[in-house]
Point group: C2
Chain length 191, copies 2
DNA sequence: CTTTTAGATGAATAAAAATTCATCTAAATT
DNA sequence: AATTTAGATGAATTTTTATTCATCTAAAAG
């Protein structure tokens, strides 16, 4: 027998992400996906039961991918600021490099397909960061502001950086990232 | 002759915004819009040539609506911090109250329909704020950071507040808004 | 009050998109 | 090398969705 080609699956995912970025989830047809992934439409149905299953699978994959990156090189033992900086950089780099994935997650969350569990899973990805913020507050290093809103402040800035890098085709040097981190840090640090 | 019913147009817009919020642009059909707006499908085509025209018209309307709110009560003569606070509050309130519109703009920008002019118009909405930021830098009140990134920092935080208010059904008191403003302000103010 | 004109309706039609399937490979097994 | 099994194809089919249109109002004009 002929085995399933893992490359095909990847090609389908890549095609989806590219198309969602340029056309939106609303603009995607299975024909387009097949063409973009250089295969016959029927082949899509060997790898995925139907369009819904494809969207769901890709959403899960993207959410997991986020999870695998957020806390890379982070140790809960590190000093607060160093640990926070590590996570901040991880998130911003991931959002920039895999912007299409972030966009896809956002759009699929507003599609008729995605389950509440998946949405919850994404939210839970940030739990270790919430823990760290609590520690920072306990240690009086950062302001005593509800973590829910502080996280909004942190993540919001990061998201918008990624958006602008991609929409306006801007380059971000390490220098620019550090400047942006400084804005965030000065915002949260205790007075 | 019977005149066009302005209420119908509004009903169509309202239906669209509601549906995009819960289903995404990908999940919308003209049948659904008609049902939600309590009219026959054919009636939609009296007010809009086709689906594309409807999306385009609503996008323009939303973009204009943003423009009409951002600088309400703002005077370029006000002291820097007061002026900035006015604009910040205007934006955050608008994003919270008309979250569905923001969402619709975002999604329609990724549809196959919306023109570059419309996208540019949205961007231009922020020009007076860019001007103010430049003034703040000249007066050494805020950090000397590229306005492009400073705006990302400011807008990003605001967007995420609105998102969380709506997705997690959180109430925001004036108190919460002021706390959030403080984070932003401490971020941008000169050291 | 009658006529005219354009809005409103929703079933019928057309267009677009998802999904299937008969047929054709290519890889693995014997 | 022959056989078997499952992947790959894309035209054909089914399903869904957009759009039209014959018919029916309701408002304005005369």
């Amino acid at each position: 027998m002929k085995p399933k080609d893992q490359n095909k699956m990847e090609a389908i995912y890549r095609a989806m992400l590219g198309l969602v970025r340029q056309r939106g989830l609303a603009g995607i047809t299975m024909q387009q996906v097949a063409r973009e992934a250089k295969m016959a439409t029927g082949t899509l149905y060997i790898y995925f039961k139907n369009k819904e299953a494809l969207v769901v699978a890709l959403t899960d994959k993207c959410v997991q991918h986020v999870a695998s990156n957020l806390f890379r090189n982070y140790s809960a033992d590190a000093p607060f600021k160093a640990g926070f900086a590590t996570i901040w950089m991880n998130i911003v780099r991931h959002r920039i490099e895999f912007f299409n994935e972030s966009l896809f997650i956002e759009q699929s969350f507003h599609s008729p397909f995605v389950s509440d569990e998946t949405k919850l899973a994404l939210k839970k990805n940030f739990d270790p960061l919430l823990l760290l913020l609590q520690r920072g507050k306990d240690e009086k290093i950062i302001k005593d502001v509800d973590s829910f809103w502080m996280l909004a402040f942190i993540i919001g800035g990061i998201n918008e950086i990624a958006r602008r890098v991609n929409y306006f085709n801007r380059k971000v040097s390490q220098q620019v990232l550090e400047t942006n981190f400084q804005l965030c840090w000065d915002g949260i640090k205790a007075a």
